[in-house]
Symmetry: C2
Subunit: 682 residues, 2 copies
């Protein structure tokens, strides 16, 4: 009898472990929390759902809890009786207790604890900002079954790994209206990012209103700039979501727009500067030998200091090649007189002047890694961005900065405008095990920032470049280093992606807008299907040398409807891998995809002759159609002939050729599959 | 020989007439211009496209021409060399000449003339506002063939029929962020509407910041209000598009939010007022016998007068049932002392006080038709809104007002929130032939306004209620009375609908957002297909008595993804009509649709058990499935039996029953089809 009982208990125990691990995988949490324990049961979401806040609650928490109610109601369709949190209720569905008001500063406590049981949910945190992070986790736990929505019973203890978890948006190359910034702040909060780095100026635009030097925005922005009121509005909006705002005015290079307004501060004499319309690195540079330069900078950084409460200010400082300095004899004289051997030294001279201006304003300087010169005080934060493309090891400057005693932030590897797939970014760690830093040096690495450079994005497309990939990078910044399972990440990311739409993000829905324009009123299904196996050209090859696309070129093209991580390409690659490791097992799946691509091409042909916009797209589809037909034939035959090899080489070259700034994302998989067939069959 | 030549000429002449009328029908213009003549040839849109503006041009025209370039480039994918209009060029692609700056006032000249030839486009207008109207027409003329985009050669002379062409948006019931307002202003400009009527206050919210009485927005808006800066921003944005902005503060009724801040001005003593969460007509009313009421109103209307440049101010004045007046002895005394026989007279007393306040501020009063009492000065503009539902003839008050000497505006028939199909609204004419007014009286009818009441819309769904139907009503306001061809309207409207997306409108794309939420990650195709034959409950039956939906209820439901004018319902009705008039001719088409609905139901069943959100939706689909199977059977058989009749009655009752606040839009067509089969076959 006893034995049976033990066996039974063991069985129950094993079952509960199985249930737990199943549950575990079913939580669509991102970023993954530090500790999560599954419990028994669930809390059912019904009309009588209520929230109570501890008496020391804040407006920020009250508003966040109200937004939580709206989003929960929107997701579940449950009509809540109470639309707002209470301060008094005895037995709320959700009780939130905080110790104190959170401050918007580096290293503020963002931890929270959450317990969900059959009787309710409890969130406890040190700060209200921590409670906001918990509310996002709770929303992500919302689960449906046949008859109701519920929160599964769990216990979570969560805290971020890095203190600086940022998204940079470049609004200079293309202006982004307030609503674009706001919806991205909402999405940042949803994945627990806490720094919005606002790249406000560049060659293509000076986007901040200046009260002291109004010519800056009047002449330097085509009328597309943020007023002081609007900047305060964004800072307030971000603050309500526990997000700090770091402004960047990029100097002394990237200065075409600034110098359009104040050519007398440029390094080239008698130069007529104009707002730059192309992308790239340009020569217009502030004159570091002119005292008026520092007067202007002192004035605008004073405005910046008054507007932005955060102690950190980003001064850019990147990509100054000093061509105009070399060409200006006065600047050459200055270098000699001041014993500045190189342009590098001259820029250090400039940076130190700027550092003093900021110090007076009680601000700390952040700059791209080029500012890290021997004389730069270690109070400056180093923003690491260069990598293999620039002839450096990824993160090289990050480590160097930490060793020199600078705080530093990593963006190498997080350049999402380069259109790499998510695995490329997800596995980059700001603090990899291999980094070989001392404990103190490790503390110098504050975190990372995703960089959304704006040359090729407009309000129509920017969300589809930022999301959902940024959510996975946000997990890298928040979660433990050990969270690296790619399949699990992909699965959670695909759920998060459509959930982010409730915040107004357009990354999914605008794809069809672009396709409807291209199809000119005809059905878009076939175009949509084609996007699932295409990707825009990677790195910066879509805009060769930065001279193909001007800032006012159309970004409503097929390439703009395509994104990275094409789902059909991923599925096809998985099937081919399976096929190679265990022959024939997945042949049907492969054939079915090839057949679909062929069928889709037939449907696309309906658009031929209807609009000039489809001719290049048809070339993509045609190449895919031909090679699909080829594989359908040879998968069924015995052996691969010499004729087949020649045929394949011709077809794969067609598939590899980009059209409409887009490439077929399965060309390497085709090569892999053919190599396998060749090896096995010849 | 001569005879042959004449025949040949005749043939060419006839061919050109045919070509012309074909062309005519192919122009996707809305509103249809007053005069349009087709020419020979076209102007091809290439990279070298340029715009020149006459030297007296305005910033407004320069900005509009710049936006025109962006939209044209976005549509066509053509990379223009010049991104901005010029002032100097000799042979531009598009030359715009204006006589003078337009003023934002009633009856400003909005006419324009346009000539498109092989060598270029010319727009001439009296004012820059007229040129803006012409630019929208030109964009609508953009046509594609196989190899390029072009403007067809035409000559257009165009001018509006009515001077007041408005869209009212109620932002009180649900707050609408600035970007929602802005994209709707863009769309208004695209269809040549020129009045944005901003319904800023109601029981559910006081949405205008008040500097003189900040409690109004602090306590009356849940934090969702427009600052003065934001209001100025909207007025500027509208003005740049040639749109006047008319503010409405609705008094003395609809005052719950106002009285939440200032209960001492209410008509019921010792009443605790709160922001209303339900929809409907409520009792809270300003006390017209309290001098402090007028002091407050004088202060806020002074703010209004300072903010809004337009001479017209809307004071609401509707739906005051006077219940609280009746219950208050002091107010009863006041009526006696002042010989005010009825609450009607008391409200007139109130209105006249308000009229004096506005007069001092140099503003003209507009009010809903209830303000039209014998003592009301005829300077007040009457806004006609009541119709059959309120026991009146449509437009009754409009005619009455004109006869009394008031200027008047029609909204009866343009209540788009009632979810009628477009033909219902399109044929309502503010000045029907039957109106029997004198020439002078006819001049009193200024035009009309589409009213978008906000009880059931959020930023997610509001566009899909306003658009595309408002475009057809805009045609009613602009175009000649003779433009009434429903098929032609429908065809043009469907093109305009997806073209409007380039302005950021969400009426098409947000449907899938809602369905993705409902499907919880599963495929949305079957849900989408079902929306094509469903419609949300009409009139106000979706929200019976205004007590089903609170302002914070979810508006993310299947009903929110459905709209009027369901395309499959329209197609099915057409096929059935064809079938009835010429038996069997369209039976295959009918069967194919019935079969699709059956198939779609099978696909929808995949969602069963996956989320509670689909169970009601499946009832809709199930009813449609069953009746489709029934018709597929009896269409093929000879005769209709008694059993069939009973079966039909059971099935049609299922189809007629609404679920999830939605109804199948083809139930009447099913009845019609069955009646036909019964009559023919029994």
């Amino acid at each position: 009898m006893k034995k049976i009982r033990i066996t039974l208990l063991l069985l129950i125990f094993i079952q509960s472990i199985i249930a737990q691990s199943t549950n575990h995988n079913s939580y669509n949490l991102m970023p993954w929390p530090k500790e999560i324990t599954s419990g028994q049961g669930m809390y059912i979401i019904k009309e009588d759902f209520t929230i109570s806040l501890s008496e020391n609650s804040t407006n920020r928490l009250y508003d966040a809890a109200t937004r939580f109610l709206r989003r929960l109601s929107g997701r579940t369709g449950v009509f809540f009786e109470e639309g707002f949190p209470q301060n008094t209720e005895n037995t709320p569905s959700l009780m939130i207790k905080i110790d104190r008001v959170g401050e918007l500063k580096l290293n503020e406590d963002e931890s929270y604890k959450m317990t969900i049981s059959n009787t309710g949910v409890q969130i406890n945190s040190v700060t209200d900002i921590g409670a906001l992070r918990g509310l996002e986790t709770l929303l992500q736990l919302t689960t449906a079954d046949n008859s109701f929505f519920y929160f599964p019973s769990v216990t979570i203890e969560d805290t971020p790994r890095f203190a600086w978890r940022g998204l940079m948006i470049d609004v200079a190359r293309h202006y982004q209206p307030l609503d674009v910034i706001k919806r991205n702040l909402d999405a940042m909060a949803a994945v627990k990012l806490n720094v919005f780095h606002w790249h406000l100026t560049d060659d293509q635009g000076f986007r901040m209103e200046s009260k002291s030097h109004p010519k800056l925005h009047e002449l330097g922005s085509d009328g597309q700039y943020y007023t002081h009121e609007e900047i305060r509005d964004i800072i307030r909006y971000a603050g309500e979501r526990g997000i700090r705002v770091i402004p960047e005015l990029d100097v002394p290079g990237h200065a075409s727009a600034l110098l359009t307004a104040y050519p007398e501060l440029g390094s080239k004499e008698n130069q007529v500067y104009t707002i730059e319309r192309y992308a790239g690195v340009f020569d217009p540079t502030l004159d570091p030998t002119n005292e008026k330069t520092y007067e202007l900078l002192s004035d605008i950084f004073t405005e910046v200091a008054q507007l932005f409460p955060d102690p950190y200010v980003h001064i850019g400082g990147d990509e100054n090649e000093g061509k105009h300095w070399d060409e200006n004899p006065k600047i050459q004289d200055f270098k000699k007189k001041n014993a500045l051997a190189s342009n590098h030294d001259l820029q250090t001279h400039f940076n130190l002047r700027l550092q003093k201006i900021l110090q007076k304003l009680n601000k700390k300087l952040v700059g791209w890694e080029e500012i890290m010169t021997p004389n730069m005080p270690t109070t400056a934060v180093i923003h690491s961005w260069r990598g293999v493309e620039e002839g450096l090891q990824p993160g090289e400057s990050l480590i160097k900065a930490a060793k020199k005693g600078h705080y530093s932030i990593l963006s190498t590897g997080y350049y999402i405008d380069r259109m790499h797939d998510i695995t490329h970014h997800y596995l980059v760690d700001p603090l990899p095990k291999s980094s070989n830093l001392s404990k103190d040096e490790r503390k110098k690495i504050l975190g990372g920032e995703v960089t959304m450079w704006g040359e090729l994005v407009t309000p129509l497309t920017i969300d589809s470049r930022i999301w959902p990939r940024t959510a996975a990078i946000a997990e890298r910044f928040w979660s433990q280093a050990s969270v690296t399972d790619l399949d699990h990440m992909r699965k959670r990311l695909s759920v998060l992606s459509f959930r982010l739409e409730e915040l107004g993000l357009t990354h999914l829905k605008n794809r069809n807008v672009i396709l409807r324009n291209i199809a000119n009123g005809y059905d878009t299904d076939a175009l949509m299907k084609l996007t699932q196996v295409c990707q825009p050209l990677q790195k910066y090859s879509r805009n060769k040398g930065g001279t193909e696309y001007k800032s006012y070129s159309p970004f409503t093209l097929f390439a703009d409807a395509c994104t990275t991580d094409s789902p059909d390409a991923y599925q096809f690659e998985s099937l081919v891998n399976e096929f190679i490791s265990s022959p024939k097992s997945s042949q049907k799946g492969i054939e079915s995809m090839l057949f679909e691509w062929k069928e889709n091409h037939e449907e696309l042909l309906v658009l031929r002759g209807k609009t000039p916009l489809v001719s290049e797209i048809l070339k993509l589809s045609s190449g895919l159609n031909d090679i699909s037909a080829f594989f359908l034939r040879i998968l069924d035959q015995e052996g691969v002939s010499k004729v087949d090899i020649n045929e394949f080489n011709r077809l794969i070259n067609n598939v590899k050729a980009p059209h409409a700034d887009v490439e077929i994302a399965v060309s390497e998989t085709f090569v892999k599959l053919f190599d396998h067939l060749k090896k096995n069959e010849l």
